[in-house]
Symmetry: C2
Subunit: 331 residues, 2 copies
């Protein structure tokens, strides 16, 4: 085993993960290879897709979040990666770690919240494990199936493909900055932003339909931020991207402007959003759009896949490079 001196905060989450991957015996039967958001194995012609995502109070929870909002977020974190793969969930299990001093009603509200977020996404919270821990930890493992021939990957985007997203960006970035800069005067605008940021949805139906129609060349959710997600697709697919439009909600633009913040930055690098970022061959765009609009969803074109290494945003003639940054542990 190669050795690395020093503690993990020297390395950062993503470089650690790459190192860890070298230590693991690869499974030939794995249906998703390389850096991916979930694991997948075969059960006959079906791909079983499993995703585990840990929510930790000290890094993933804002102080004013309710138990129900915390559980909601944990559940969506687990389900959202299934959405990006086109998977229909079979259920979700969760391991809970509670400090000994946790109020029983708070713990129950976590459990109730996990149940709610699963029911909202037409699946079931099936139970799990309960433990004592120094801080609150909720580890959700969501699992489901998709026909192997429909499984969507990060890899597969080709120059010329359109890039689209299933919703707007900016709520979490704006809320986080408001919290960190203590701009929490309870304005109606900020309340609106807060409600949207803390009740995200996993775009399962969108992912499933896009997979069934085979109209998507690559997809990822945006849990590490839009910019990071674009870079992940670009890296996996060995392409670049040119973004021409960012769908930012008016409430975020207003709140950002009032505070002298750059709304585009908040939308690009906010993170913890769960809209899907998909690439679609241009000849399949019409059917993709019709499919998603047919269920009352959104598919918003934001740019196109180009040759590597271009990675830029042009808005109203103003050009900027989209940096590969987003939320990262240990840094």
């Amino acid at each position: 085993m190669p050795k690395k001196a020093g503690n993990i905060s020297k390395f950062g989450e993503r470089s650690l993960i790459r190192w860890f991957q070298e230590l693991i015996t690869p499974f030939d039967g794995a249906l998703l290879k390389g850096m991916e958001d979930a694991v997948a194995v075969s059960i006959n012609e079906t791909a079983l897709v499993v995703n585990t995502d840990m929510l930790v109070a000290s890094t993933d929870v804002l102080p004013e979040m309710t138990a129900s909002e915390i559980a909601w977020k944990a559940g969506v974190m687990g389900l959202s990666d299934l959405a990006a793969k086109g998977v229909s969930p079979l259920g979700l299990v969760a391991s809970l770690g509670f400090p000994k001093t946790t109020e029983a009603n708070f713990a129950a509200a976590i459990v109730g919240g996990l149940n709610s977020v699963c029911r909202e996404h037409d699946t079931y919270y099936l139970g799990g494990d309960t433990n004592q821990c120094v801080e609150l930890v909720i580890d959700c493992t969501a699992f489901g199936t998709v026909p192997k021939s429909q499984l969507i990957r990060r890899r597969g985007a080709t120059p010329g493909d359109l890039i689209a997203v299933t919703g707007e960006f900016g709520y979490t970035g704006t809320l986080l900055r408001a919290v960190y800069e203590d701009r929490q005067e309870p304005s109606q605008l900020l309340r609106q932003i807060r409600d949207k940021a803390l009740r995200p949805l996993a775009r399962l139906q969108e992912g499933q339909l896009l997979a069934q129609k085979k109209v998507v060349s690559a997809a990822i959710d945006s849990s590490d931020g839009l910019a990071w997600s674009l870079h992940e697709i670009a890296t996996a697919s060995e392409v670049g991207f040119q973004i021409e439009k960012l769908p930012i909600p008016l409430s975020c633009t207003k709140f950002a402007n009032a505070n002298g913040w750059d709304a585009i930055d908040l939308a690009l690098y906010g993170g913890e959003e769960f809209e899907l970022v998909v690439t679609i061959p241009s000849e399949k765009w019409k059917i993709a759009l019709k499919t998603i609009e047919g269920i009352g969803g959104q598919l918003i074109p934001i740019g196109k896949v180009v040759e590597a290494p271009e990675k830029r945003l042009v808005v109203k003639g103003e050009e900027r490079v989209i940096e590969p940054k987003g939320y990262e542990h240990f840094v």
Copy 2:
């Protein structure tokens, strides 16, 4: 939602879990109902069985355990419940929480240890999630399949069935008591006990074969201790049990005797063992024994299922009640 005042340490893990279960919408398609060790859903004629188990440093790790031993235990915790259900694993995912000050080489040894424990059990560590956490947390989710008709449950034991275990009991109880009472003089005996206690095996092959032969009426692993496991089967199956023999390793008996401890107590209530506890209709005993001996395993008869509520142990004419106790969080 019913309310419970006070913090969770007032209630204890098992009473909390019962309460939590009332808050969860039951899934009609669940193949395992009530208090069980894993969840199971249908994929056509196959049962997909998923088990999530969290290891937390402050409650599950002895100070002198190496990273590799910690990871091994976490992996076996996840796999062992699959064994009790007769499941063939498809893989294991793990969410890791590391304090920021963790040595990079320690973290890598955790990952390498998870890989090793999976390979030892003929399955794969498929990856997962890496996080920052106030303490070390390893949440393993193991999953696999078994034909629906072969899925083993806790419920199903009938008076007259034989009770058997797949190995000896006492290593962990003896080691834990030695650690707590600081009897850690590095004797060869204690080293032997330590090595056995910290490298348990999930009895996957035994579980799978017993399931295939359909010779088991109920099963559970012994992760909460032999006594607790017997009580769990008894409760789920609405039966009692009479234990006539406890397979305790000579090393444990010797070490216990030298220290004036009761070896039977250590074997009954030690916990964190992973041998299977199974009940077998007497007419199927011979084929069960032959099957397990055929792979070089052990199937040790320890007593029989009787009418509820009897729950006792008779060894050499001395009789004692087996209490429903074992390791429990929050108490």
